[in-house]
């Protein structure tokens, strides 16, 4: 297993500005509330990671989150039926790319700072793993910028997109007996109503020895841990599940994957907390946390590097290999 640290330096405002996130979050919360109100719902009591009973954590705009006691992973408690949830995910995905959404305004910067590094990460890892021009699927709720870039890179023999909710519920069309060498899940496990089922679906469609590339925002990371329920990036449906790093690792192992890379190359944790404090100085942070965030720029940069190296950033990247018999 290897861990990767990234020296990429990018400002929060160029990829996911806090004010843009606040507006987007209002839309997301409203969409989630509407779907929960409209139909039948169920409550998630059991951790998909450990099978333990979930414990109370807090509420985001009245939407309750629960916590897995052993892993620290967070889960939205009340969920609608899968069809309704898939509809919400599609609605929110469209909103991201709507003219008044913040993705179009940041399209070029996000391509440069978010998608291109991810593409390089995938390509370099495939080179290191000796997998030239593999068959690949991205598991996502369309539209996906990444699939377009993957298709254009010419480093893959075939690129397809499979709907994440359909795969999680065994309804993905075009899968059948098809087996691919690489699956990409960019924050997909964070969104779906049944992350374990999604991972099992991915394992089913991967060839033995095939790789899954996974990114997630993790609850064990600095900004998530410091801000907790007050973190504006914690909201459904994008963060329906907010696994801890150990929670993700456990889940992958359970489903039959061996780890190739586990890393937290995030570069924004400290700036995310700083931006939250600027927006709301009354946030319940300890004096020491305030002291850290108020320290010199050099000290903050060093802290971010420390978080990357220690697996303590909230942006996690994992590469896992499907083991034999999995």
């Amino acid at each position: 297993m290897r861990a990767i640290e990234s020296g990429l330096s990018i400002p929060l405002s160029s990829v996911k500005p806090l004010e843009g996130q606040v507006r987007y979050r209002a839309f997301c919360v409203q969409a989630t509330r509407a779907v929960l109100k409209a139909g039948r719902t169920h409550w998630r009591d059991v951790s998909p990671v450990s099978g333990e009973r979930l414990e109370p954590f807090g509420a985001v705009e009245g939407l309750e989150y629960r916590r897995c006691p052993s892993s620290g992973s967070l889960f939205l408690a009340e969920m609608p039926d899968p069809v309704a949830w898939a509809r919400v995910l599609r609605e929110v995905a469209r909103q991201r790319f709507a003219p008044d959404g913040f993705y179009p305004q940041l399209a070029q910067l996000r391509t440069e700072h978010v998608y291109t590094p991810k593409l390089e990460w995938i390509q370099n890892t495939l080179r290191l793993q000796g997998l030239p021009r593999p068959t690949l699927v991205e598991i996502a709720t369309p539209p996906s910028v990444m699939s377009q870039l993957l298709g254009e890179s010419a480093r893959f023999s075939d690129v397809a997109v499979i709907d994440e909710m359909a795969l999680a519920h065994g309804e993905a069309t075009g899968v059948g007996d098809r087996r691919v060498e690489v699956a990409i899940l960019l924050e997909s496990l964070d969104r779906v109503d049944d992350p374990r089922a999604l991972l099992e679906g991915v394992a089913h469609m991967l060839k033995e020895g095939g790789l899954v590339f996974l990114t997630a925002l993790v609850s064990s990371g600095f900004d998530m841990a410091v801000l907790g329920i007050n973190n504006v990036y914690l909201c459904p449906p994008d963060r329906t599940n907010c696994f801890s790093l150990s929670g993700l690792v456990t889940l992958l192992a359970d489903v039959g994957f061996g780890l190739v890379e586990v890393s937290t190359p995030g570069v924004l944790d400290v700036e995310v907390v700083q931006a939250h404090l600027q927006r709301d100085p009354t946030l319940p942070l300890s004096p020491f946390e305030r002291q850290v965030i108020g320290s010199t720029e050099a000290a903050r940069e060093q802290l971010q590097t420390f978080l990357q190296r220690g697996g303590l950033s909230s942006f996690a990247r994992i590469v896992a290999k499907k083991l034999g018999g999995g």
């Binding site: 290897r2 861990a3 640290e5 990429l8 370099n124 080179r127 290191l128 190296r309």
Partner: protein, 342 residues
Amino acid sequence: MNVLLVGYGYMGKIRHRVLRQHPSVRTITVVDPALDASSELGQTMLPAGAAIPWDGVDAVFVCTPNYVTAALCAEAIRRCGRVFCEKPPGRNWEEFRHIAETAATVRDPILMFGFNHRLHPSVQAAKALVGEGDLGEILYVKGTYGKSGGLHFRQNWRSQLALAGGGILLDQGIHLLDLFHLFLGRLSVVDAILTDSFWGCGVEDNAFLLLRNDQGIPAFLHSSATLWKHTFRIEIGCAKGYVVASGFLSQTGSYGREQLVIGKRQFEDEAMALGNPREEIIYFDRDESWEKEVQEFLSAVKERRPAQHGTLDDAQEVMRLIRDAYAVAERQTSKRGTHESD
């Protein structure tokens, strides 16, 4: 497979550990004159003075000090024909030639030399990324490999010319030369400075080599027994970026965490600060180089094919460079002596 392991020092113990875990190995017979009869190897071992039991052996591992390596390796080639020999393959070019010429007298010998550094994960990752990888063609290679010696360095056989055949260049520098060969192909020595500046053992404690491959790509090597901070570092500059492999997952961890820095070339149009590009650092937490090396040799024996690396040709390349480096350095020293006497 019945394996004979000759020499149970530092390297012999490592090979023994790996061989014990290998599914194809049935028996291991260990021969070492210093072995105590009470040693608990869990395998057959022969006490001091016992003859080497060549009969019925499927493969031989020669893990001895340099002064007996060539003779034992040659005998193992004659007796068994399937030999893994630790580096260096002899104390000098002549001893290496003795091994090579012996191999030429045997039909289809399977011969492999211990150059495990090319199997370290950081080196393998670097190899995957340069050239046809995204970083483009190699422009230069620089390597530093060194240790601090320690309190008993002067007494160690590695520091004695008659026993070792050379100093730090032959001991550790040989690994860097093998890596340069891996990345650049055939090389020649442009210049060499060897010094015995601290330890005064009569062998070089620092070696500085300037090399060039057949395409003119330069390489620079610094091998040292006076690096008070243990260091392994190889930098490969490419047209579109660079990689720096450093640290080693050694038993003591004294070389630091094994890592590979990957940097992409960025000019002003791609980055705000010229000369400070985005870097990724890969950390590795498992070194399987010993296992991979033994696996390759035993697979070659089993499949009756030549080994794919650590071959006689690979060994010849590094021994030729070391021969030439010593010759160039000797000429430099003579020239300097002449100037000084003028």
